[in-house]
């Protein structure tokens, strides 16, 4: 097992693992809507299935949040 950092918290993963695997492991509700950064670089959606993560990588999930008030 290896440790990567997902949304600021350590997480155990079985390597090799792609971004898509980590999305699945974290039960991301709408994977087609999430934006992903690896080590503070945005990853293109078409690379999710191929980009391999390394021990210690930092993965951030960014979600759409559209509320606010009026229109």
């Amino acid at each position: 097992m290896a440790i990567i950092i997902v949304n600021g918290e350590d997480q155990e993963v079985q390597l090799p693992a792609t971004v898509a695997d980590i999305i699945k492991q974290n039960n991301v509700a709408q994977p087609e809507m999430v934006s992903v950064q690896v080590n503070e670089e945005f990853v293109d959606r078409d690379e999710f299935a191929t980009l391999q993560l390394q021990e210690g990588d930092e993965v951030d999930f960014l979600y759409f949040m559209g509320g606010g008030g009026t229109f």
């Binding site: 949304n7 600021g8 709408q30 809507m33 934006s35 950064q37 503070e40 670089e41 945005f42 293109d44 951030d60 960014l62 979600y63 759409f64 949040m65 559209g66 509320g67 606010g68 008030g69 009026t70 229109f71």
Partner: protein, 271 residues
């Protein structure tokens, strides 16, 4: 700089002026500021009220909607007798009651591709207080094109997120390339929101605006601040401007503003 504050103003703004980082000079910058608040709703309400109380010289408000009873749970700039009034008129009355020194410019219309650049162009700083993705992307694109700084804000259920953009820093499209398809991601009118969350996020946006006007501190640029009020966990995610960005990158594919389609349920049920 004029520094011609009256005794009444010096007294009104004394808690700002006492701040070493603000002082009379900072208060003058606030007074000279022209801020556009897009949406007089959950976020726009606390933003406009705090900016008014702070003494921002000119506050523009864009909103083409009327106050609905279901707004009052969080849109604290409006009160029960305001139900049925234009939001910009109701908001203007509250602002003038808080601080008669503020000049309020009420734009009774929705922000669209055909008026966004003109509206944004009249102001120094823009605050996104809208609750739908088409307008959030429109604000981003218009501000990037016009070289205007803005504060982005979004809330849903118990969560909020915000960042500040200045020319050269990461924009909304660096993080999210394009709006989700209509209806794919819920809005507050579909999924609900804890009213106080609007206050939590809106006051952060107001503070960012005042920081930008006075030049105090470090803005939330290249950082997405997110929080979950259920746990009161706050997190700053460092984000980077990307060269692949379709609007602020070196080879932008978006060269004019776009009116994206809205979810039908949002059109029927504003805010």
């Amino acid at each position: 700089m004029r520094f011609d504050f009256t005794e009444e103003e010096l007294n009104r703004y004394s808690r700002h002026i006492l701040l070493q980082d603000v002082g009379v000079e900072g208060q003058e910058k606030i007074r000279e500021g022209k801020v556009l608040v897009v949406g007089a709703g959950g976020l726009g309400a606390p933003v406009a009220m705090y900016l008014a109380a702070a003494g921002v010289g000119t506050i523009g408000i864009v909103d083409g909607d009327v106050v609905d009873l279901s707004n009052l749970q969080r849109q604290i700039i409006h009160t029960t007798p305001d139900v049925g009034k234009w939001k910009v008129e109701s908001a203007k009355e509250t602002i003038q009651a808080i601080n008669p020194h503020v000049k309020v410019e009420a734009h009774r219309e929705f922000l669209m591709a055909d008026n966004a650049l003109d509206l944004v162009g009249e102001y120094d700083f823009v605050v996104d207080g809208t609750d739908n993705f088409p307008v959030k992307f429109l604000i981003n694109d218009a501000c990037v094109m016009a070289g205007k700084p803005f504060s982005h804000g979004g809330i849903l259920r118990f969560e909020g997120q915000t960042f500040t953009h200045v020319p050269g820093s990461a924009c909304y499209r660096c993080m999210f390339k394009s709006p989700p398809p209509p209806g794919a991601v819920p809005t507050c009118s579909q999924a609900g929101v804890l009213g106080a969350i609007a206050g939590m996020l809106g006051t952060i946006q107001a503070a960012e605006t005042l920081k930008w006007l006075t030049g105090v501190g470090e803005l939330l640029t290249d950082k997405l601040l997110t929080f979950n009020a259920k746990t009161m966990d706050f997190r700053k995610i460092h984000v980077k401007k990307t060269d692949k960005c379709p609007i602020c990158g070196p080879n932008p594919s978006i060269t004019e503003l776009i009116d994206y389609e809205q979810a039908v349920c949002d059109l029927k049920n504003h805010g």
